[in-house]
C-alpha cells in the first residue's frame, strides 16, 4: 500500500463534458463527482511481472510480423514514468495501442478504407525498469478521419495506459508527435483546457536515441499523481 496521493487537479485534466468532442455530450455525468478521502481501495493496485509480460511484447515491429516487417516509419518511443515529485515509478505496466502507418486499426469495428497491414497488430506492453524507464519499437501511426465534424481528422497518436502503485493513479492518455499540424485542430485534444497540459502530450523528436540508418526516436515522459511524503491520520471529523 502506497502513501496518500496528491489531489487530482481537475482543472488541469479535461472536464467530462466537452461538446466539441461530440461523443462526450451524452457520456458525461451531469452531477459532480463525490470526492473521497483515500482508503486501501484507492491506494493499492495490481502488480504485473515478467511471468506474464514477454520481451517481444514491446516490439510492435516484430510482435505480429507474419511474412516480413510492417510498412512505415520505424520509430522508438521511450521515456520515463515519474510521479509529480519527479520520482521514478518502477516496474509498472505500460500498455500501448495504435493505428498502422495508414491510419487503420486492426479492429473489427474499424471500416476506414486504408488497408490493414498484414504484419502489424498495433498493440504492445512493457514494464518500466527500476528507474521508471520504458521503451517501445513501432511504426509511426498515420492520421485518420473520425465522425465528429464532417471533416475531423485525428493527429497521429499512440494510446497509452499506465498503472502505478495505487489504483487511483490509473491513467489512459494519448501521445502525439512533435510538429504535427493536426494537433491544434483536434477536438479531443482541445478538451484539455490548459495549453501546458496539451504540450505535455506531445513527444519530442529525440535524435540522441535515434539509431543511425535504422530507427528514429521520440521521447515521452509520463507523470502519475504524486505521493504525499508524510501521513498524519486525521481526527475523524466532528470527534
Amino acid at each position: 500500500m502506497t502513501a496518500e496521493l496528491f489531489q487530482r487537479d481537475r482543472v488541469w485534466q479535461p472536464p467530462a463534458y466537452t461538446p466539441n468532442y461530440k461523443s462526450s455530450v451524452n457520456r458525461s455525468p451531469n452531477l459532480a463527482p463525490l470526492s473521497l478521502e483515500m482508503t486501501q481501495s484507492e491506494l493499492t493496485a495490481p502488480r504485473f511481472g515478467h511471468d506474464v509480460i514477454d520481451p517481444i511484447d514491446c516490439d510492435l515491429i516484430r510482435n505480429y510480423a507474419k511474412t516480413g516487417d510492417p510498412i512505415g516509419e520505424r520509430i522508438i518511443v521511450h521515456g520515463r514514468v515519474l510521479d509529480e515529485n519527479g520520482r521514478p515509478v518502477p516496474h509498472t505496466l505500460v500498455e500501448v495501442w495504435q493505428a498502422n502507418a495508414g491510419g487503420r486499426y486492426r479492429h473489427k469495428n474499424d471500416t476506414y478504407f486504408a488497408p490493414i497491414d498484414p504484419n502489424f497488430g498495433g498493440c504492445g506492453r512493457v514494464l518500466s525498469d527500476a528507474e521508471g524507464r520504458y521503451m517501445f519499437r513501432t511504426i509511426k501511426p498515420g492520421a485518420y478521419p473520425f465522425r465528429n465534424w464532417i471533416n475531423s481528422w485525428r493527429p497521429a497518436h499512440i494510446h497509452i495506459s499506465v498503472f502505478g502503485p495505487a489504483f487511483a493513479q490509473r491513467l489512459i492518455t494519448q501521445m502525439y508527435f512533435e510538429g504535427d499540424p493536426l494537433i491544434p485542430k483536434c477536438a479531443i485534444i482541445n478538451a484539455i483546457p490548459d495549453q501546458r497540459a496539451i504540450d505535455g502530450l506531445v513527444a519530442a523528436l529525440d535524435l540522441n536515441e535515434t539509431i543511425p540508418l535504422d530507427t528514429i526516436a521520440y521521447k515521452f515522459d509520463i507523470v502519475l499523481r504524486g505521493q504525499r511524503s508524510t501521513f498524519f491520520e486525521n481526527r475523524p471529523e466532528g470527534n
Binding site: M1, F6, R8, D9, R10, W12, Q13, P14, P15, Y21, S24, V25, R27, S28, P29, N30, L31, P33, L34, S35, L36, E37, M38, T39, Q40, S41, E42, T44, A45, P46, F48, V52, D54, N63, Y64, E84, G86, W97, Y105, R106, H107, K108, D110, G121, G122, C123, H159, S161, F167, L171, I172, T173, Q174, I188, A191, G200, V223, L224, G226, N234
Partner: protein, 199 residues
C-alpha cells in the same frame, strides 16, 4: 515572489477511444497477439469465499447501452486483503477487465465476493469492488464502487455510502442479488445517474 514549488503536473488524460480493445483486450478486437491476455481471471483457482458473477449494462444519457465500454475492477479477497497489502491466495490478482458485448452492451465478470476492508479512522468498509470505466466520449476514466444488496447492515454503516448526500442516490452503487449473480447497471448521465467518485 516566492520559491517555485517545482512539482511536475500529472499527464493529462485522453479518451481511450473506440478501439481500446486493441490495446487492452486484443482478443475482442479480433486478433490474438500475447501469450497471456490480462484481466480475465480475477480470483484464480485457489481463492476462498463465494464465487459470484457480476453483470450489467452501462447506459448513456439517452438510455442507450454503451457498447464500447471497458471496465477495470479492483477488489480485496474474501478476507478483505488486497494483493500488495497482505498475503492473498496464490493466483488471486484482485484485478480484472470486462468489456461490453459489441451487440448488446452487456458486460460480465466472474470473481469471488470480497470481504470487508479497513477504511479510515479504524472503521470497516462494507464489501465493495472498485470500478474504473473508460470508453470513447469519456475524457477521464470514471471511478465508482459496486456494493452488494445482501450486505444491508454493512452498507448502512459504510463511510463512503454515507457520504452520498441524498440517500436515494446510494442505491445506484448497490448491485442486486439473484442467486449467485449480481446485476449492476451503470447510468453515466441523467435519471438515476450512478454516483461517480473523485478518488
Amino acid at each position: 515572489m516566492v520559491q517555485s514549488l517545482n512539482y511536475l503536473k500529472e499527464t493529462a488524460s485522453q479518451t481511450a477511444g473506440p478501439y481500446v480493445h486493441i490495446g487492452l483486450a486484443p482478443g475482442a478486437a479480433g486478433f490474438d497477439i500475447y501469450r497471456k491476455e490480462l484481466g480475465h481471471d480475477i480470483a484464480g483457482p485457489n481463492a476462498k469465499g463465494e464465487r459470484i458473477t457480476v453483470t450489467g449494462i452501462v447506459y448513456d444519457g439517452i438510455g442507450a447501452p454503451i457498447k464500447d465500454i471497458l471496465i477495470e475492477t479492483w477488489q480485496a479477497n474474501a478476507d478483505g486483503v488486497y494483493p500488495g497489502a497482505g498475503d492473498v491466495e496464490e493466483g488471486f490478482v484482485g484485478w480484472g477487465r470486462a468489456i461490453s458485448d459489441f451487440d448488446t452492451g452487456r458486460f460480465t465478470f466472474e470473481t469471488v465476493k470480497p470481504g470487508r476492508v479497513m477504511g479510515r479512522n479504524g472503521k470497516l468498509m462494507a464489501p465493495h469492488i472498485s470500478l474504473w470505466l473508460v470508453a470513447r466520449g469519456i475524457n477521464l476514466g470514471l471511478s465508482t464502487r459496486m456494493y452488494f444488496s445482501d450486505e444491508a447492515d454493512a452498507n448502512a454503516e459504510d463511510q463512503v455510502l454515507n457520504l452520498v448526500g441524498p440517500p436515494e442516490r446510494r442505491s445506484t452503487m448497490i448491485a442486486s442479488r439473484d442467486g449467485s449473480t449480481y446485476t449492476f447497471d451503470i447510468r453515466v448521465q441523467g435519471d438515476n445517474e450512478t454516483v461517480f467518485l473523485d478518488v
